[in-house]
């Protein structure tokens, strides 16, 4: 039987990077402060010592430079895993991500591919300065040619990261930093993958389907437990991969419950709750018994920390939405 370690989510990131780097010499990590410093969240701690400066590379402070050179590296046969220090700093690299990473395979009819994984901590709730708390997974999901992954548990983190690194196409891997150290889970020492594009049922239920991901998974489960006391049985589904999305899992659950709540931190307008809602009613309108309830961040710039707790959907707000949907 293979051994395990009790890891936090951020430790699982590191463990995932490490075992993929051991498995495949072409995998390398690059970014600002990922080397000697081990990353500002310690997600690459110890890798510099183990793999050396040619595989754990401190770069100049330039996000377009990081992703753009990673694209060149990927085309030349390496498997770079660039880290962007916070997802709010991915925008300087947006052109390289959208115009190149997402288009290289099409542009070269498959001769050049972009097997790179852009990792970035995302989301709010950690009392951080401006631009450190955004969650804009919808930007990336809208671009053909990109996959988007957001784990919510340590076990999944390692497995999804491994799957992303082995995936022959570019993956945007967003890590919910709010729960980087929130809890621990047994994580196998050996390498393994959690397949991309598969949702996980976190709590089975028959009355309402709740779809969520990342740091919103925990308050969603909390809310589900709380309403369970009043006999409302919520199925909580953690989508894990936002693109390609596990539509089958969504529909299967919805066809059972006929009611849904979608929870995400990102602003409502143009957020992925809209996509999920549209998909549900496209495929399962006849099952629908109540409006799909979107519990999201507000359509405002993410506030500094004095107000961030008002911005973030939390269990109370989710609970309210569940009850509203149940009673519709």
């Amino acid at each position: 039987m293979s051994s395990t370690q009790n890891l936090t989510l951020v430790q699982a990131v590191r463990d995932g990077l490490k075992s993929e780097m051991q498995r495949d010499d072409d995998v390398l990590v690059m970014g600002e402060d990922v080397g000697k410093n081990g990353g500002v969240f310690r997600a690459t701690e110890g890798l510099y010592d183990e793999f050396g400066e040619d595989r754990v590379i401190d770069t100049p402070l330039a996000e377009s430079g990081i992703v753009g050179t990673a694209i060149g590296m990927a085309a030349y046969g390496l498997k770079p895993v660039p880290e962007i220090q916070f997802s709010g700093f991915m925008y300087p690299a947006f052109d390289q991500i959208i115009s190149h990473a997402a288009r290289m395979r099409t542009r070269s009819r498959g001769r050049f591919t972009c097997p790179l994984v852009v990792r970035a901590p995302y989301g709010g709730g950690i009392r951080a300065p401006e631009h450190h708390s955004e969650s804009k997974e919808a930007f990336y999901a809208h671009e053909a040619g990109l996959k988007v992954v957001i784990p919510s548990t340590p076990y999944d983190t390692k497995g999804l990261l491994a799957a992303s690194i082995r995936d022959p196409d570019p993956v945007i891997f967003l890590e919910p930093k709010l729960i980087y150290r929130a809890f621990r889970e047994e994580v196998p020492d050996d390498d393994y993958t959690v397949e991309l594009g598969e949702a996980a049922v976190r709590r089975e239920g028959s009355d309402i389907s709740l779809f969520t991901w990342g740091a919103m998974t925990r308050p969603s489960i909390q809310a589900a437990e709380s309403v369970a006391e009043d006999g409302i049985d919520v199925e909580v589904i953690d989508l894990r991969t936002l693109k390609p999305m596990d539509t089958d899992a969504i529909l299967e659950s919805f066809e059972k419950t006929g009611r849904a709540v979608v929870v995400h931190e990102a602003p409502k307008t143009g957020g992925l709750a809209g996509e999920i809602t549209a998909t549900i009613q496209e495929e399962a309108l006849l099952y629908q018994e109540a409006p799909v309830n979107r519990v999201t961040g507000f359509d405002v710039p993410y506030p500094l920390y004095a107000l961030e707790d008002y911005y973030m959907p939390e269990d109370t707000r989710i609970e309210d939405a569940i009850r509203e949907t149940y009673e519709f």
Binding site: D33, K36, N37, A306
Partner: protein, 369 residues
């Protein structure tokens, strides 16, 4: 010869490490009062910094970026600005901001997570922006707008950023636009040797950062950033040049102030992971504060009594600012809906009402837990 025309490799200095005037250096024309005020401001910046770090440790403030070691660069440069000039700070310019009139309490408030601390009505200062190097374009744009709007009555626009910032595309585009449109801008690079854990040598293969100005057709100069008088002098010349139409040259200047951050990058950072105490000690020998103090003592401008008075005034002022900052009320929860657009859209009204209903139904404690 203007100091700006020196070879960029030739670092401008006025005071040596013991506070003595360097051979051949010209001491800038500052009154005793002005010199003492610079000294006081540097002391205040240092003391403020120490207090802010400890507030953060006590959980009374969020992440904070300390400035200790960088007081000469901040105070010397800000003191060289004329009243109507504009300043574009990075996140570390608490000292420079103070010199330009920003309340310490406002600065604290910002780092306490209250965006109102960044609302500096009446001061020619842009709000702090966190994304590295991006403010360089705003400074260039505003300076260029002044070419278009202000006739001959131009102000200078001074923009701060770090050594790491020089690697970003926006640094390049900003300086390039400034050269092309001859904007009255002063680009002030606080080369504190580190961008978090990445050393200056890893940031770029160019010998100096000052020489990068050559790529944009204007002058670059390296100055000892731990020498307040040298910083003052170089900045003053750059500011004057920015405002005077010189047919032989362009208005912008890139200043590289060579200095050192004594502390951590932010309170979330542990520098011992990536740099040696030895290096820190080496730079501490260049500490700008004792340096200016020695100069002022040697020239008879300051004595023990004067220094004590400064100590007292600085401690009082910072203590008062902390009390004030901590007495500010948390912003209204619905505040976040008020600065999205000039007028709230229908959807924002709905969301605001939704938040109000949640607060009424559950109470703030429940929502904030």
């Amino acid at each position: 010869m203007s100091t700006l025309q020196r070879d960029p490799d030739d670092r401008v200095r006025v005071l040596d490490e013991d506070g003595r005037v360097v051979d051949g250096a010209e001491v800038p024309d500052l009154s005793d009062e002005e010199l003492v005020e610079m000294y006081r401001q540097m002391r205040l910046a240092r003391h403020f910094d120490q207090r802010a770090v400890s507030l953060q440790r006590q959980g009374r403030m969020g992440t904070y970026p300390p400035l200790s070691g960088q007081e000469a660069a901040q105070v010397g440069s800000a003191a060289a600005m004329d009243d109507d000039d504009w300043m574009f700070p990075s996140y570390r310019e608490h000292g420079a901001a103070y010199v330009r009139g920003v309340d310490l309490a406002q600065t604290l408030r910002y780092w306490m997570g209250d965006e109102r601390g960044n609302a500096l009505e009446g001061l020619n200062i842009f709000p702090v922006a966190v994304p590295i190097a991006t403010q360089i374009l705003h400074a260039t744009g505003a300076a260029w707008a002044s070419n278009l709007k202000d006739g001959d009555d131009r102000n200078a626009f001074l923009c701060y950023f770090g050594d790491g910032a020089t690697s970003e595309g926006d640094f390049h585009e900003g300086l390039n636009f400034a050269g092309v449109f001859d904007a009255p801008a002063v680009f002030f690079c606080n080369n504190n040797q580190w961008a978090i854990s990445v050393p200056r040598e890893r940031q770029t293969a160019s010998e100096t950062l000052a020489q990068k100005a050559d790529a944009y057709g204007f002058e670059g100069v390296q100055v000892d950033g731990m020498d307040p008088l040298a910083v003052y002098q170089v900045t003053r010349e750059a500011i004057e040049k920015a405002k005077a139409a010189d047919p032989d040259g362009l208005r912008p200047t890139l200043i590289e102030a060579v200095q050192y951050r004594f502390g951590a990058h932010t309170t979330a950072d542990d520098p011992s992971v990536y740099r040696d105490e030895e290096e820190v000690e080496k730079w501490k020998a260049k500490d700008p504060i004792p340096r200016l103090e020695s100069y002022l003592r040697n020239t008879g401008v300051l004595d023990d009594e004067g220094v004590d008075a400064v100590t007292q005034s600085v401690e009082d002022e910072v203590a008062e600012a902390i009390t004030e900052a901590e007495s500010f009320e948390r912003p209204e929860a619905t505040d976040m809906f008020d600065y999205v657009f000039e007028e709230r859209t229908e959807r924002l009204e709905e969301q605001r009402a939704h938040l109000q209903r949640l607060r009424e139904r559950h109470g703030d404690e429940e929502l904030l837990e």
